[in-house]
């Protein structure tokens, strides 16, 4: 089943690479010390590549939003109120119990339903809450003069940074869960192959 158009795959690939660079360089800035550790690049290099990647990520994000506005792909991200919590519960139950009992997937993938309710919620939170917040706060840190001087007596730059690193952390956690859930396809490699070739391999255990 052809599920991922070229522009989605292209956006996803660029997004994945940039997010990885941003996580490594972001962690480096946060944890670089007098000693340098594995996976922590030097501060100056980290700042440079973090800034460059962030600018590209912003353009890539605009591309994603535009794509969702001007193509039908946007419909997969629309959350409907009806049965939202109930469906979420069904999906959670499937992941924690049902799939081990051999039950069928409660929301099988089809051209009208690319994401299950849990995926949809996490993708909306990641793409429409965390990513805009991290981009806006990131630009605030890149141009500190545009940040409000303070809020409730706390420096605006500190709040901006805490918001930025908190969103960065949530996106890192999301990435780990996202990569793991992508092994829950027909075979552990099916969903990875799908986002590269565009074709989804159907299975009762598809996520």
């Amino acid at each position: 089943m052809y599920l991922y158009p070229v522009w989605v795959r292209l956006w996803h690939l660029v997004n994945a690479l940039l997010i990885l660079v941003l996580i490594v360089t972001g962690v480096s800035m946060q944890y670089t010390d007098q000693k340098e550790y594995i996976l922590v690049v030097g501060f100056a290099r980290a700042v440079k590549w973090h800034n460059i990647s962030a600018v590209f990520l912003t353009f890539n994000y605009i591309f994603f939003v535009m794509g969702n506005i001007f193509t039908k792909n946007g419909r997969f991200y629309k959350i409907r109120k009806e049965n939202f919590l109930k469906d979420l519960g069904k999906q959670l139950r499937y992941y924690s119990l049902g799939m081990f009992k051999g039950e069928k997937h409660p929301f099988p993938v089809n051209p009208d339903q690319k994401f299950n309710p849990l995926q949809k919620l996490s993708y909306v939170l990641a793409m429409y809450v965390a990513l805009p917040l991290i981009i806006i706060s990131g630009f605030g840190l890149l141009f500190p003069e545009i940040v409000i001087s303070g809020l409730f007596g706390i420096s605006g730059i500190i709040l901006t940074d805490i918001l930025h690193i908190t969103m960065g952390f949530f996106l890192s956690v999301f990435l780990v869960i996202h990569i793991y859930t992508c092994t829950l396809g027909a075979r552990p490699s099916s969903l990875f192959r799908g986002i590269i070739t565009g074709y989804h391999e159907p299975d009762d255990h598809i996520v």
């Binding site: 946060q30 670089t32 700042v47 840190l141 500190i158 805490i162 918001l163 908190t166 780990v176």
Partner: protein, 327 residues
């Protein structure tokens, strides 16, 4: 959906703000009221200030029988408002200068008057022992500036005896201290007419020589030149061992790290006076924010716990998947 985003954003902001509001509520060091100071030598000093206190002065030419308005050389002007808030505000002019200056025109040989340096008054005096003048002197003798002493470099090149005030201990606003202290360096290093009095080097463009420094303006506003250009001396609040440019700090993580160098330099006095829990090097947060140095230890722990929990859940899930396949 837009409303939902706005609410989530507000909740995140408030949730993140609240725990730190208390930790960040430090109000700063008390400033001394120097504006009301009245010098016991005020009347005597006025005899000098009436000419040297501003750009214009007036004198009588007895031969012509006229009053002459003249401009005072800028090097010879000391403003009253600056002198009376300086460290030496309690002094009379003739405590340091010859009483012969009382005559006008001043005798020509007074130009050769021997000037005191800091240690002439402050050296070996218990009253000033906390300032460690002797250590300052030994540091200075190892500094790059000492090499210029033959060409006329003295303590006064940085510490104008008429206007200098110690700022790092008294300042309520560290930004003002930074501005004040950097102005001392820039007085020569960005004014070629003064710089060439002591050096044969070509004019230096500080913006160009610091081009490598990311976010240059922010750095110049938030740290002093001496943070990077001096060697730290633990027994001194302000290091006086100015290094040659090739020995200046250039590694970002000297400051942007948990063991931030700034705690031994710019924030040394405040770190002894006030502590702020929750953040590493939290005292910096009262005035500024340094990426890498100001991690929040609670958020650090929380992030590790959440991350470990996620990994644990994934491991348990993998275990059940594998054992399910085994069946």
């Amino acid at each position: 959906m837009k409303f939902l985003h706005a609410r989530i954003l507000t909740v995140i902001y408030l949730c993140l703000s609240a725990p730190f509001a208390f930790a960040l509520s430090w109000s700063g060091l008390p400033a001394k009221d120097t504006g009301s100071y009245v010098s016991p030598f005020y009347e005597d000093n006025e005899r000098c200030f009436k000419c040297h206190g501003q750009g214009k002065y007036k004198y009588s030419n007895d031969q012509l029988g006229t009053e002459i308005n003249a401009l005072m050389c800028t090097e010879r002007i000391t403003k009253r408002e600056e002198f009376y808030i300086s460290n030496h505000r309690s002094f009379g002019c003739t405590d340091c200068h010859s009483t012969d200056y009382g005559t006008f025109p001043h005798p020509g040989e007074l130009r050769m008057e021997l000037k005191y340096n800091c240690l002439d008054c402050h050296g070996g005096d218990d009253k000033y022992s906390s300032f460690n003048f002797e250590t300052i002197d030994s540091d200075y003798r190892e500094s790059i500036h000492f090499r210029l002493e033959e060409d006329g470099f003295t303590c006064w090149k940085c510490h104008n005896p008429h206007t200098y005030k110690i700022s790092i201990r008294d300042s309520k606003n560290l930004k003002e201290t930074i501005l004040y202290d950097n102005a001392i360096c820039l007085n020569c290093h960005s004014d070629f007419s003064r710089f060439q009095l002591l050096s044969d080097r070509d004019e230096i463009n500080l913006m160009e020589t610091h081009e490598w420094l990311p976010d240059q303006t922010n750095h110049f506003r938030n740290v002093r030149c001496i943070e990077c250009h001096t060697r730290i001396n633990d027994s001194l609040l302000v290091s006086h061992m100015v290094l040659s440019k090739d020995k200046a700090v250039k590694l970002c993580n000297e400051c942007h790290s948990q063991n931030s160098m700034l705690m031994s330099t710019l924030y040394k006095f405040q770190s002894k006076e006030q502590r702020q829990d929750g953040f590493f090097n939290g005292i910096i947060l009262n005035q500024s924010y340094v990426i890498g140095a100001n991690r929040n230890e609670y958020l650090n722990i929380l992030s590790i716990v959440i991350f470990a929990f996620v990994i644990l859940i994934i491991c348990v899930h993998i275990y059940f998947r594998l054992s399910g396949k085994a069946k």
